[in-house]
């Protein structure tokens, strides 16, 4: 196989049908960009889960009666609630926080908003038991068992809030993947069509090649490579688009969340997303090309 021959055929092929080639590359790029965006979504969600779930706790808020009178949770019913929590299999640790400590924490949290701190009084805040679980995802058990017990005002599960938050991110991710899939379908159809057009415009050449006894590889490899090259270019543009998007928009948007959503690092885009996109793109182009040639182009 003479590489220079195949290579020059590929270049002429791509140039012969420039508008179609550009459409094919751009559609591929959009599809892959969306797909890459979805992958970054997944990665971000994973990162967030890892960092948040460590800190997730269930807070058992105690009634006004206990908050006012039982300063160290030694009286009933606080002591027995604490006892029950500590002996629970799922619980890693229990920390009692009285309303003064709660007030201190409140002041710390809202340091930046002194007018809010000024309004707050220790008497307005309930005492609570902060429960840390071995497996934060299994907080339901605690919530069910302790809600409504004597001495318990209410049970707050941070996991519930995070669940809602993550399900929002998950639907963002799913939406991205769906659009990527639709764009991918368009890209595949464009690739198939481009190869057909390409094979048609080169039918004289291909006819001569067949007559003089060129092998299937010789006659069809140029078309196949045309698709693969376009796929690779699409992937490169897609990755370029993601990097651009990161610097011009995402960085600023994510910074505005104050670190609630971790920033997307350049390295996340370059690895593993970029090689995945390149590989997926070239593979799909090659398969599309091969199938098209099998179905529509006579050898």
């Amino acid at each position: 196989m003479r590489a220079s021959f195949v290579f020059s055929e590929v270049i002429t092929g791509l140039r012969r049908n420039v508008t179609m080639t550009i459409a094919m590359i751009l559609t591929t790029a959009i599809s892959l960009g969306m797909f890459g965006g979805g992958l970054l979504f997944v990665r971000t969600i994973d990162k967030m889960k890892a960092s948040y779930l460590d800190d997730v706790e269930v807070t058992v808020y105690l009634t006004e009666d206990i908050s006012a009178n039982d300063r160290d949770c030694t009286g009933e019913p606080c002591a027995s609630i604490r006892q029950a929590l500590e002996s629970n299999q799922a619980v890693e640790s229990v920390v009692f926080e009285d309303r003064n400590e709660a007030y201190e924490r409140f002041k710390r949290i809202f340091e930046g908003q002194p007018e809010l701190v000024e309004l707050a009084r220790p008497e307005a805040l309930p005492a609570s038991l902060h429960v840390k679980l071995f497996d934060p995802a299994r907080s339901d058990v605690i919530v069910q068992e302790f809600s409504g017990q004597a001495g318990v005002a209410n049970v707050d599960d941070q996991n519930k809030f995070l669940d809602r938050f993550f399900s929002l991110l998950n639907s963002g991710r799913n939406g991205t993947f769906i659009i990527a899939l639709i764009a991918a379908l368009a890209a595949v159809l464009l690739i198939a069509n481009t190869i057909q057009v390409s094979a048609y415009t080169r039918r004289t050449e291909v006819g001569i090649m067949r007559l003089v006894g060129a092998t299937r590889w010789y006659t069809q490899l140029p078309f196949l490579l045309e698709a693969v090259v376009a796929g690779a270019l699409g992937a490169i543009i897609g990755v370029g688009g993601l990097i651009t998007l990161k610097y011009v928009a995402l960085d600023r948007i994510l910074e505005a969340t104050g670190g609630a959503i971790p920033k997307i690092e350049l390295i996340d885009v370059l690895f593993p997303v970029a090689p995945i996109l390149l590989g997926v793109s070239m593979l799909i182009s090659a398969i599309t090309g091969y199938v098209t040639l099998r179905l529509y182009v006579r050898h």
């Binding site: 004289t204 050449e205 006819g207 001569i208 090649m209 067949r210 007559l211 003089v212 006894g213 060129a214």
Partner: protein
Amino acid sequence: MIRLDSVSKVYKTSARPALDGVSVDVDKGEFVFLIGPSGSGKSTFLRLLLREEVPTKGRVMVSNFDVAKMARRRIPRLRQTIGCVFQDFRLLANKTVAENVAFALEVIGKPKRTITKVVPEVLELVGLDGKADRMPNELSGGEQQRVAIARAFVNRPLVLLADEPTGNLDPDTSQDIMLLLERINRTGTTVLMATHDHSIVDSMRRRVVELHLGRVIRDDKRGVYGVGR
């Protein structure tokens, strides 16, 4: 070199067979005219030899290839032993004369060294030395057909198939092309030429196989076109 043994070909779209029990034997180095009116089966005959078609019945041998039975992946091998020339030349308009000829070698993976050596030789053989860098549209019809013959012959095929090679040419030019085909035949290449051209067949006095409605109705060692009619 070429042997058809009770070959029939029926196309799905037609009730009448294109070839009907055709048996023909062509020795190595022979020059054979294949004549007959349109629709007599000449094209099908040639297409069977190239394995563009598979016979419905019978056996087709070209050199050592059992053409109808051979595996698809061996078809390129078969075609590398057969050169083809057509009425419409089928040159690549965007390539020069030399590139057109070289193309036939490039696509079967011949090394560049061989190509640069062989192409000028064959261009000289067909009388086109000095026109290697011309584009096809700068050449006369006869010259274009010479390029096509050079391309068909450059890989030194055992068999040269010519389908109405003079169909688009004036009588003088046709004579020149026939001389060229004769010269190629003298190198030992078997030549099989389908034609309508009475005067050429009559003047050459070579073997004539006449087809009519898919049957061989005449096979003369030294025939003329219109004998007995």
